[in-house]
C-alpha cells in the first residue's frame, strides 16, 4: 500500500546509475508457427516495481522469462531493441545470459508447481547460487545460507536449511525460492506468480517480504493474474492479452480508471462484497433469486469430529443449510475444509457427531441405506480433470449418474450440457481436450444430473482465470436461482465467498471459529483469526471518483455492459 505512487522519481537517483535495468521494444516470441508474445515493449528502472498482468495464455510468463534468455527450448525471440544491464541483449550468447542470471536478475517462480528440486535441501539450493557466482568463499557459504534464510523470514533457519521441499510448508518453500533468487544480490527480481496457491495470510507475508527487498533498492518485475496483489505492490502495470499490451500506466490509474474494455472486464470479474447478487461476466441480468426458505434444514451437521491418525482434522463443527441457501466455508489450507466436505458427502464417517440430509440420518448408516438419498447431494471439486475418467467421453461422464433408460439418457445429457452453456458437440469429446472452464462446466452438468437438493462445491473456481471464474460463478448463481439449490461453498478466497454466500463459516485448525451472516462476519469479525484473514486480503483501489462514470465502486450494471 506504500507503493501506489510512482517511485522511479521519488527514489533517490544516486542509488543507481541512470538507465533502465532491462528495456525491450517490440518483443516477439514464437514457438514454431505460434507467436505467443506479439510486440511487447517494456522497461524496468532501478528500484521500480512493474507488474505484468494477464490471464493464462496471455504471454506474461514467456515475456518475463525472455528477459533472462529463458523463453524455453524452441523459442524464437526477436525484438527491435533489447538491453539488459545496459548491454545489447540481442547480441547475447548463452554464456552472456548465464553470467547475468542469478547475479543481475533473480527469478522467483510459483512454488506450487515444484520450483525447488524435490531431492535437494534448502541449503543446497541456495548454496548453489553462491557457488555458481562465487559470491562468498566455500567456507563461508553455510553461514551465508543461514543469513539469507533468516533475511527471507524463515524461522529456525538452521533446521530449515537441512530440510527438503516436502518437509516445508508452501509459504516456507516460497521463502526459500526468494532467498535463492536474491542470494547473489541481484538488482532485479523477476517474480512469476510468487503468491499463487498460497493462503491469504501467507500471501500477505510474502508480499511484505518482496516489498522489503524493494525498499532496499531492488527492482521488481511482478507477474500475476491477481489484480489485487498487483495493486498492493506495483508502481506501474502492463495488462497483457494474447501476447499484446492492451493497457499500461501507473497502477492506481489503470486499476481505478481503466481505459481499455479488457481491463474493465477483468476488474469487473473480480468477485467481492460489491458484486453480490450481480453478474461478474457479460450476459443478461441474473434471474431473481428466491429467498432461502423453510425452517427445516436440507443438510445439517452437529458436533462433527474426524481425526486422521493423531491429527484432529475436524473438531466439533455444526451447521445447518436451508433449501436454496449458500453457506460459505472459508479457511486456510489444513483447516479441515475438505474433510468437512467429505463428511457431509458421506464419503467419510465422523468419529463423533451426526449429519442429517432431508432430516434423515446420513452419517453412521450403512451405504445401502444411504444410496437412495445419494442423488440429492452432489459434488463439484476443484480439479474436475482428476475427477473424470480420462478415457470416457464427456457424454459418458455426464450420463453416468443418471438412472434413465438408454434412449432418454442422451437427450438428458444434451439438455444438461446446454444448461451449463456447452455445445452438444462437447458430448463426444474427451475432458483433456477442453479448457479449464469447460471442464468445470462438465463437472457441474454431471452434478446436476441427479437433480440434487444440495451442491457441495470444494474450491470450484480456484484453478480458473478470473474471467472464467466469473462465468462459472455466474452459472452457479443462475442454477441456484432456477432450482433452489442449497450450496455448501468451500473456498480459500474471501472475495469469492463473500460474493456467493448468504452465511459463512470460518474454519481454523478443524474448528469453526466464527459463523454468521456473510456481511456481518466480514464487516465486523469477532474472532481474531477472522480479523487477521480479512486484513490480509489485498484490495483493489476504489474506482476514481473524478471519472465521469457515476459508480463509486465497481458496480455491476455499468460493468456487465463493458467489452
Amino acid at each position: 500500500m506504500t507503493a501506489v505512487h510512482g517511485s522511479a522519481d521519488a527514489r533517490p537517483s544516486a542509488a543507481a546509475p541512470a538507465g533502465p535495468l532491462v528495456a525491450v521494444e517490440d518483443l516477439r516470441v514464437s514457438f514454431g508457427a505460434a507467436e505467443v508474445v506479439r510486440g511487447v515493449s517494456l522497461s524496468v528502472a532501478p528500484g521500480e516495481c512493474v507488474a505484468l498482468v494477464g490471464e493464462s495464455g496471455s504471454g506474461k510468463s514467456v515475456t518475463a522469462r525472455s528477459l533472462l534468455g529463458l523463453a524455453g527450448p524452441g523459442a524464437a525471440v526477436r525484438a527491435a531493441a533489447f538491453s539488459v544491464a545496459g548491454r545489447d541483449a540481442l547480441a547475447f550468447r548463452e554464456p552472456d545470459w548465464r553470467r547475468l542470471r542469478g547475479s543481475f536478475a533473480g527469478l522467483v517462480l510459483q512454488d506450487a508447481l515444484g520450483s525447488l528440486d524435490p531431492l535437494r535441501t534448502a541449503a543446497a539450493e541456495i548454496g548453489e547460487v553462491l557457488s555458481v557466482h562465487g559470491v562468498v568463499p566455500r567456507r563461508a557459504r553455510a553461514a551465508r545460507v543461514l543469513e539469507l534464510l533468516a533475511a527471507a523470514g524463515v524461522p529456525e533457519p538452521a533446521l530449515r536449511a537441512g530440510q527438503r521441499p516436502h518437509e516445508l510448508s508452501g509459504g516456507l518453500r516460497q521463502r526459500v525460492l526468494i532467498a535463492s533468487a536474491v542470494a547473489a544480490g541481484p538488482r532485479l527480481i523477476i517474480a512469476d506468480e510468487p503468491t499463487t496457491a498460497l493462503d491469504v495470510t501467507v500471501q500477505a507475508r510474502i508480499l511484505r517480504l518482496l516489498a522489503e527487498r524493494r525498499a532496499e533498492g531492488t527492482a521488481l518485475l511482478l507477474i500475476s493474474h491477481d489484480l489485487a496483489v498487483v495493486a498492493s505492490v506495483a508502481d506501474r502495470v502492463l495488462v497483457l492479452r494474447d501476447g499484446q499490451v492492451v493497457e499500461q500506466g501507473p497502477t492506481r490509474d489503470v486499476l481505478s480508471s481503466p481505459a481499455h474494455p479488457y481491463t474493465r472486464s477483468l476488474l469487473a470479474a473480480v468477485p467481492s462484497a460489491a458484486t453480490r447478487g450481480a453478474r461478474l461476466s457479460d450476459g443478461p441480468p441474473p434471474p431473481p433469486r428466491r429467498p432461502p426458505g423453510g425452517d427445516v434444514p436440507v443438510l445439517a451437521a452437529t458436533g462433527l469430529v474426524r481425526s486422521h491418525g493423531p491429527r484432529r482434522a475436524v473438531g466439533g463443527v455444526s451447521f445447518a443449510l436451508r433449501p436454496g441457501e449458500t453457506l460459505g466455508v472459508v479457511g486456510e489450507s489444513g483447516s479441515g475444509k475438505t474433510t468437512l466436505a467429505r463428511l457431509v458427502l458421506g464419503l467419510l464417517d465422523p468419529d463423533a457427531g451426526e449429519v442429517t440430509l432431508h432430516g434423515r440420518p446420513w452419517s453412521g448408516v450403512r451405504e445401502r441405506a444411504r444410496r437412495p438419498l445419494r442423488p440429492s447431494i452432489q459434488l463439484v471439486s476443484q480439479n474436475p480433470l482428476d475427477s473424470f475418467d480420462p478415457r470416457h467421453t464427456v457424454g459418458r461422464l455426464v450420463a453416468e449418474p443418471l438412472r434413465l433408460p438408454r434412449r432418454e439418457r442422451r437427450a438428458r445429457v444434451l439438455d444438461l450440457l446446454e444448461r451449463v452453456g456447452l455445445p452438444p458437440g462437447t458430448a463426444a469429446r474427451h475432458p483433456r481436450e477442453l479448457s479449464g472452464g469447460q471442464r468445470q462446466r462438465v463437472a457441474i452438468a454431471r452434478a446436476l444430473g441427479p437433480r440434487p437438493a444440495v451442491l457441495v462445491c470444494d474450491e470450484p473456481v480456484s484453478a480458473l482465470d478470473v474471467s472464467v471464474q466469473a462465468q462459472v460463478l455466474d452459472l452457479l448463481a443462475e442454477l441456484q436461482a432456477e432450482r433452489g439449490l442449497a450450496m455448501l461453498f468451500i473456498s480459500h478466497d474471501l472475495g469469492v465467498v463473500r460474493h456467493v454466500s448468504d452465511r459463512v463459516l470460518v474454519m481454523k485448525d478443524g474448528e469453526a471459529v466464527e459463523e454468521g451472516d456473510v456481511e456481518e462476519v466480514f464487516l465486523r469479525p469477532r474472532h481474531p483469526y477472522t480479523r487477521a484473514l480479512v486484513a490480509a486480503v489485498p484490495r483493489l483501489p476504489p474506482a476514481r471518483p473524478s471519472r465521469p462514470a457515476p459508480s463509486p465502486s465497481y458496480d455491476h450494471p455499468e460493468r456487465s455492459r463493458t467489452s
Binding site: 553470467r99 542470471r101 527469478l107 535437494r120 555458481v132 533468487a181
Partner: protein, 323 residues
C-alpha cells in the same frame, strides 16, 4: 501407509532410528524369501517322479555304498518333517550337500566358479551403467541428430540377442584383429569381450530410460529455477536432473540382475569361460540335483541382496521415500 505417516510425524519416540527399523524389516523379508526359495527347491525334489535316492544319484555312479550315504545325508529313513527340518538346518550351517556325480561337496564345486562369474557380471554391469550414463547425459535434450544416433544404437543393442553380439565381437576383435583372446578367463583382456556382449543390451535399455528421465527432469519447473541461477546445462544435468533420472534406472537394475545371471550362462559357454553358468548347464543336463538346488539358492541370495541394496539406494537418492 499409516505407519509411514506416523513415522513422519515430528517428535516420534521410537527406540530405533528410521533407517535401522527399515533395515530390520528388509532383513526379515529377505530371510523369508530365502526360506521360500529353499522350500521350493526341496518340494521340487519331492515332487520329481521316481525315488528320491535315484534323483539325487542322477546320472552319476550308482553303488549300494553311495545309496546308503544319500539315505544317511538326507535322513530318508526318518519322517518327512524331520527330513525337511534337517535340510533347512544343514542350509543354515552353510552345508549345501554333496554332488554324487562329481563325488565332491556342492560348496566345493561352486566355490571355484563364483569368482569368474562375479567378475563377468560385475564387469558387464559396469560397462552397461557407464555407457548408459555417458550416452544419456551427452545426448539428453540435445539436437535431433545426436539423440537419433544414440537411440538407434540403443535399439540395436537391445534387439540383438547377446550371443549374436558375442559372436560378432569375437569375429571382429578376436579372429580378425586378434586384439583379444578367443576364450578362457586369464587376465583382464579375456574379460573385455564377454563383458561387452553381456553389458551392451543393458546399456541400451538403461540408456533409454536414463535419457527419458533426464529429459523429463529438465522440463520440470525446478530446472527453470536452476537455469535462472546461472547454471550451465551440464551442471543442471549432473547436479539436478541425473538424480531424478536415476530413480527409474534403479528400478530397472533389479530387472537386469536377472538378465545378467541368465546371460552369463550363454556368454560363458560362448567364450569358453569357467563359471556358474557352465556348472549350472552341466548340472541340469546331467540331472545333478544337489548342484541344481544349490544354484537356485545362490541366485535367490543374489536377487534378495541386490533388491535390498536397491531399496536402500532408493532411500538415499530420494529422501521422500524414507518412511
Amino acid at each position: 501407509m499409516t505407519g509411514a505417516g506416523l513415522a513422519a510425524a515430528p517428535g516420534r519416540a521410537a527406540v530405533l532410528p528410521a533407517w535401522a527399523r527399515f533395515a530390520a524389516r528388509r532383513t526379515l523379508a529377505a530371510a523369508a524369501v530365502l526360506w521360500a526359495a529353499a522350500t521350493t527347491a526341496y518340494v521340487a525334489l519331492l515332487l520329481a517322479p521316481g525315488d528320491t535316492v535315484d534323483i539325487l544319484v542322477g546320472d552319476g555312479p550308482d553303488t549300494p555304498g553311495i545309496r546308503a550315504g544319500i539315505v544317511a545325508e538326507w535322513g530318508l529313513d526318518r519322517p518327512q518333517v524331520v527330513q525337511y527340518l534337517s535340510y533347512l538346518w544343514r542350509l543354515l550351517h552353510g552345508d549345501l550337500g554333496r554332488s554324487y556325480q562329481l563325488q565332491r561337496g556342492v560348496a566345493d564345486v561352486l566355490a571355484g566358479q563364483v569368482g569368474p562369474t562375479a567378475q563377468l557380471t560385475l564387469a558387464a554391469a559396469g560397462v552397461g551403467v557407464t555407457l548408459a550414463c555417458v550416452i544419456a547425459t551427452a545426448t539428453a535434450g540435445r539436437g535431433r541428430l545426436a539423440r537419433g544416433a544414440a537411440s538407434a544404437a540403443e535399439l540395436a543393442s537391445v534387439s540383438v540377442p547377446p550371443f549374436l553380439i558375442g559372436i560378432v565381437l569375437l569375429a571382429v576383435f578376436s579372429f580378425t584383429l586378434g586384439w583379444f583372446p578367443v576364450s578362457g578367463a586369464e587376465g583382464a583382456r579375456a574379460l573385455v569381450l564377454p563383458a561387452l556382449a553381456l553389458g551392451l543390451p543393458i546399456a541400451g535399455v538403461l540408456g533409454q530410460v536414463l535419457r527419458g528421465g533426464l529429459e523429463r527432469a529438465l522440463e520440470q519447473p525446478f530446472a527453470v529455477t536452476a537455469r535462472a541461477r546461472g547454471l550451465t546445462e551440464r551442471a543442471l544435468v549432473t547436479r539436478h536432473a541425473l538424480r531424478h533420472a536415476l530413480l527409474p534406472a534403479v528400478t530397472l537394475a533389479g530387472w537386469f540382475t536377472g538378465t545378467l545371471l541368465g546371460g552369463a550362462v550363454i556368454t560363458e559357454a560362448l567364450f569358453g569361460r569357467p563359471g556358474l553358468g557352465q556348472v549350472a548347464m552341466r548340472a541340469v543336463t546331467g540331472r545333478d540335483m544337489p548342484v541344481v538346488m544349490a544354484v537356485v539358492l545362490l541366485s535367490a541370495v543374489v536377487y534378495v541382496t541386490v533388491s535390498t541394496l536397491l531399496d536402500l539406494a532408493y532411500r538415499v537418492i530420494d529422501p521422500r521415500t524414507r518412511g
